[in-house]
């Protein structure tokens, strides 16, 4: 329990660090926000008009003052106004987040559904041909960048079947679940493939570790059927490293899968951050990065809590 409290106490500190790092980094990007916002129209404004705009967005004050102002607003749940969207940052984030969350959940589901059984199968058939095939497959899967896998999917679909995946538009889940799934399934498969490979590898090695432990041997000698030993006794303990790996991966995916979103033209969080950085939309970059880091830390905390739930030994020690 103590570690949990210490972790929670470190939360605001790490977030403060993240926010100040991003605050400084985005202001170091060459060029100013007002010119980036107006694009080619920037030349039409007089210096006085530009200065007025900068003053409106609070960009004319010293950095420290801007940061202090931003922090104080943050404590009231206000992340500021996005210069490019002309809307509150939180609203812009929450508009994009459902897609990112859905994509991350779908990818993780694919990874776990493929990876855990494959890993268990490989471990219980260790050193046989099927194990070798699974291990080679997982190794190749883990070495394939998501965009390579995505391109291959698109190529096979278009060259082999003459269909192109739906791109550019996005239908919310609640509006039309089928259309939504149709748009997300290929990106989710793309992200899920490497994820599944990682899960397979970790599930296999964890399962092998657990299968050699005394309590598994005891259960076997007591005459518990092999299936029961594997699924009831061994798997729950072997799942701990699987939870760690999946949790970290899921946490990253919540930050937006920039490359896959770009490839499938999906309006997710990742592409939004990339655009916001290029547009020097200070408030949006700060808010989104803070949001992403916060999610990532929450997921990591949940992963730790899952350990306790999965392994009574940790519970007793805590």
């Amino acid at each position: 329990m103590n570690t949990l409290i210490r972790r929670l106490a470190a939360f605001p500190l790490v977030l403060l660090g993240v926010s100040s790092l991003v605050f400084v980094a985005i202001r170091l990007v060459p060029g100013d926000a007002i010119t980036a916002m107006l694009g080619t129209q920037a030349g039409l404004l007089t210096p006085a008009q530009k200065a007025a705009l900068a003053a409106y967005f609070g960009l004319d004050r010293p950095w420290i003052a801007q940061y202090w102002h931003w922090l104080r607003a943050l404590l009231h749940g206000d992340l500021g106004i996005s210069v490019t969207y002309g809307k509150p940052v939180l609203e812009v984030i929450l508009q994009r987040f459902p897609l990112t969350l859905e994509l991350a959940l779908l990818s993780m589901a694919i990874a776990l559904v493929i990876g855990v059984p494959a890993g268990v199968y490989a471990a219980t058939h260790a050193e046989r041909r099927s194990d070798l095939v699974l291990r080679i497959g997982a190794m190749i899967g883990q070495s394939t960048p998501s965009f390579v896998f995505g391109l291959v999917i698109i190529y096979v679909l278009s060259a082999g079947f003459g269909v192109l995946p739906a791109m550019g538009t996005f239908t919310p889940l609640l509006k039309d679940p089928l259309a939504n799934l149709g748009q997300l399934i290929l990106p989710a498969l793309t992200l899920g493939a490497a994820f599944a490979a990682a899960v397979t590898r970790i599930a296999r090695s964890a399962m092998l570790d657990v299968l050699s432990e005394d309590y598994v041997r005891t259960a076997r000698s007591r005459g518990v059927p092999a299936r029961g030993v594997i699924w009831r006794h061994a798997l729950p303990n072997a799942l701990i490293p699987v939870v760690t790996v999946s949790g970290i991966e899921f946490g990253y995916l919540l930050g937006g899968a920039v490359i896959v979103e770009q490839l499938f033209a999906l309006p997710g969080l990742g592409r939004m951050v990339l655009d916001a950085i290029l547009q020097r939309d200070y408030a949006l970059v700060q808010g989104t990065v803070l949001f992403i880091a916060f999610n990532f830390m929450v997921v990591n905390l949940l992963v730790d809590l899952t350990y306790v739930w999965l392994d009574p030994r940790i519970r007793a020690r805590g």
């Binding site: 790490v14 991003v22 990007v29 190794m139 960048p145 965009f147 391109l151 190529y155 090695s205």
Partner: protein, 279 residues
């Protein structure tokens, strides 16, 4: 020498080492310009040619030889991967040793700073660095190094902390060994094994991140060849000229696979604990 022998006795070590050696050879040939054609020379008559005896892997939209571009691309990707991992590993190791040696204040400051960096998704952090410094080879090196440095700090700090309290370190202190000597000879030398594994795996990630940045247009800038740029360029031509996509795709996968296999083998060989589980 015994490590090399063990590596070649290990099945994935053998394959991984062979792949990496082949890539290094191709990269070296790409660096010194020993390519079948000029990777930048455009030939308007020979645009989008499929693989042939003259152009082994075909030509691209500008009639440039894909095989030659692939070789310089591998050279470019490997250069960035090796430099960035070298920077990440050396800076990360020094920080990890400092944190472990001084403990308390410095440990707290350094490890919390690493926590902050680790709270960013890797590609996002790399994107920020590129945005600040502007895209280019050196920016890619710095961005990737910055992303992976905290991992090295963590890998070094843990073992260094426990080694520091071992008896032989106490003994060395009693004999009057200097701090520098203890840190380098007794701490660092004993961490070389996990560090080697981490370096190999980090090379695989670095290749992946470099390709990702280039794919997004934030890494190596055209017309220079890079595996990510070549893949990104192939997107609109994949039906007409699939070799434009297939060649860089296989090249990226192969390089990452080589380092992953090598890293796995090294972990098996250098860490006796996992030998049973992964054998």
């Amino acid at each position: 020498m015994s490590l090399l022998k063990a590596l070649f006795r290990h099945p994935s070590g053998r394959i991984g080492a062979t792949i990496v050696l082949v890539y290094l050879l191709l990269a070296a040939m790409g660096w010194i310009g020993l390519t079948p054609h000029d990777p930048l020379a455009q030939n308007r008559i020979a645009r989008l040619q499929p693989p042939s005896a003259r152009y082994w892997l075909g030509t691209d939209l500008f009639g440039r030889d894909v095989a030659s571009r692939l070789m310089t691309g591998i050279g470019q990707s490997f250069l960035i991967a090796f430099l960035s991992v070298a920077v990440a590993a050396s800076v990360g190791t020094v920080l990890g040793l400092v944190a472990a040696w001084f403990e308390r204040f410095w440990d707290g400051i350094l490890m919390r700073s690493m926590d902050i960096l680790l709270a960013f998704p890797a590609i996002l952090l790399a994107m920020l660095v590129v945005a600040v410094l502007g895209p280019g080879t050196w920016t890619s090196v710095l961005a990737i190094a910055f992303v992976y440095m905290p991992i090295f700090t963590r890998v070094v700090r843990g073992p260094a902390l426990s080694l520091k309290n071992r008896e032989f370190v106490d003994a060395a202190r009693t004999f009057g060994s200097s701090t520098g000597y203890i840190v380098t000879r007794h701490l660092l030398l004993n961490i070389v094994a996990p560090l080697t594994v981490q370096v190999t795996l980090a090379l695989a990630w670095a290749l992946l991140t470099e390709a990702g940045l280039s794919f997004l247009g934030l890494g190596t800038q055209p017309p220079a060849a890079s595996l990510g740029v070549m893949l990104s360029d192939s997107r609109n031509l994949m039906e007409m000229a699939p070799w434009l996509m297939i060649c860089p795709a296989i090249a990226i996968m192969g390089g990452i696979l080589g380092f992953n296999l090598l890293g796995d083998a090294l972990r098996d060989i250098l860490d006796p604990k996992t030998r049973v589980a992964r054998a």
